[in-house]
């Protein structure tokens, strides 16, 4: 299951939503949605609240089955949740170990752990519990956990929305830096258009319920992108127009 070395390349990743329809009872949430995520791509979904962004992630992860249409997924998928995804009864390193639990070689586990802790700059906090950390530090531990071991695809459900603005800005840079070191295919859901413009290779603007893709936007500028970069501002303008704001 585990290749034996740190995963710094994407080996297998395929994520396709093919003509997806989904409804909860009589409420239609998704209407004929198509999405193909390229290996290593960062796709950001933005849209009005309640439009079904989280439903899309749940379909991608396999947590939900679509009412109609098919989902093709290949690769190990991990999710970063909005908050409280860490187990409070485990220390920082024990939480990260969850991501390494299919590696058998203790020496490799130790090496991976040291590397991950170094990567998220939490040296000295290995034995701390989540409630002893700030919100930003907790989300960094979450990132280390999903990047650990053999993951291929990261689903991120508004991972920074519970943080304060400055920490949020910092976490975006942090994510870019981590993905440079350990590339992964990412599907990122947010209501924050700044975040979308700074992070995405491709932005999908969703319509109101039942959601469908209203606009597809590619951002070609290199990352990390500043908030005032031309490409970021242009992307934000386009998203705002699409959202009717």
């Amino acid at each position: 299951m585990y290749a034996g070395v740190m995963k710094d390349k994407i080996k297998t990743s395929q994520l396709i939503l093919d003509h997806i329809h989904h409804h909860y009872g009589s409420v239609a949430v998704l209407h004929d949605l198509n999405l193909e995520v390229e290996p290593g791509e960062v796709v950001v979904l933005v849209g009005p609240s309640g439009c079904g962004k989280t439903t899309i992630l749940n379909l991608l992860s396999g947590y939900l089955k679509p009412s109609a249409g098919s989902v093709i997924r290949e690769g190990v998928i991990r999710t970063v949740y909005q908050q409280d995804g860490l187990y409070p009864w485990l220390t920082v390193s024990e939480n990260i170990l969850l991501g390494l639990r299919f590696i058998k070689d203790p020496a490799l586990i130790k090496k991976e752990m040291e590397e991950l802790i170094g990567l998220i700059h939490l040296e000295g906090f290995e034995q701390h519990y989540p409630h002893q950390l700030s919100g930003g530090m907790r989300q960094r531990v979450e990132l280390a956990r999903v990047l650990a071991g053999d993951s291929d695809i990261l689903l991120m459900d508004e991972p920074f929305s519970a943080l304060d603005y400055q920490t949020r800005l910092r976490m975006r840079r942090e994510l870019i830096r981590l993905l440079e070191k350990r590339p992964r295919t990412v599907v990122f859901v947010t209501h924050d258009i700044e975040e979308a413009a700074q992070l995405a290779d491709r932005i999908l603007v969703l319509s109101n319920r039942p959601a469908t893709v209203r606009k597809e936007l590619r951002v070609h500028a290199l990352r990390p992108r500043g908030l005032t970069d031309h490409a970021v501002i242009e992307a934000m303008k386009e998203i705002l127009v699409e959202l009717g704001l």
Binding site: Y63, Y81, D84, Y87, W89, L98, G99, Y129, P130
Partner: protein, 271 residues
């Protein structure tokens, strides 16, 4: 990114420590001294006859007597043994039952009304059955203690499991936790803080019940000691036993409270 190491929330600053020492030791000491003083004054004023309200002095004398005769120690051990067995039975049966019920909504709906019914039934109501079923010796008392502590412990564990945030199970399935591993690595640690609190509460009930439980079918024990003192109109000895029961209850509760200091359950009390 630099972040300073947060002050360890498990320790208090020295200044607060000192203040807390006063609050934790001195104030209770004042209150207890005040109560003893009031007791002594009332008994010295002879408001009640000496046989109805023994003086602190006479209680102390009977305390020494009971210790010298070895009776008090014998009774204490007998009571501790019965509570330990009854309570342990509750823990061994009640916690797994609560864990299982917490995860099975239909079973929970089916069983909860009955569990609640028994919870509200005073354990003392079982005394006649205890005697008829278990005759004399330790068994009836153990049975009564079990009946007193099993239901609250089961219900509390069940409620804790039913209220585990669903995100913990989402994460568990992301990392392929299933079956027994899910139970031991996710469900149980997620409810441990509440289970520890439930243990303290139900142990408290068990210890309270010991007095009544030992009034039937026992030849020793702290409860029996009180019963016997009453029969001999030796209320000084009864008060002495009451004090021992109260102190032991507090002592064992302090021991159980130590469980809540384990580092992997602190989150349950500090959030």
């Amino acid at each position: 990114m630099t972040e300073t190491k947060p002050a360890n929330p498990l320790s208090l600053t020295p200044a607060t420590d000192k203040k807390n020492d006063a609050a934790h030791i001195l104030f209770p000491f004042y209150v207890v001294s005040g109560a003893l003083m009031a007791w002594w004054l009332i008994s010295a004023a002879n408001i009640f006859p000496a046989y109805a309200l023994p003086s602190p002095g006479s209680v102390w004398k009977s305390f020494l007597e009971e210790i010298h005769s070895g009776r008090l120690l014998n009774d204490l051990i007998a009571s501790l043994w019965r509570v330990a067995i009854g309570f342990l039975l509750s823990v061994v049966l009640g916690i797994p039952a609560g864990l299982w019920l917490g995860q099975h909504l239909r079973a929970r709906r089916a069983v909860v009304p009955m569990l609640n019914f028994f919870r509200f039934l005073s354990p003392l109501a079982w005394i006649p059955f205890a005697i008829l079923w278990f005759h004399i010796g330790d068994k009836p008392a153990v049975f009564l203690i079990f009946m007193a502590s099993f239901f609250p412990l089961t219900l509390a564990t069940m409620a804790a499991v039913a209220n585990i945030p669903s995100i913990y199970f989402r994460v568990a399935s992301d990392y392929h936790y299933q079956g027994i591993e899910l139970l031991t690595k996710v469900t149980f640690p997620a409810v441990l803080p509440q289970v520890i609190t439930a243990l303290r509460v139900s142990y408290g009930i068990a210890w309270v019940v010991i007095v009544a439980a030992e009034m039937v079918g026992c030849q020793d024990g702290l409860g029996y000691g009180i019963w016997e003192a009453r029969n001999g109109l030796r209320l000084d000895a009864a008060v002495c036993y009451m004090i021992v029961i109260g102190l032991m209850g507090m002592g064992i509760d302090r021991l159980l409270a130590q469980l809540s200091k384990l580092p992997n359950v602190r989150w349950g009390y500090e959030r």
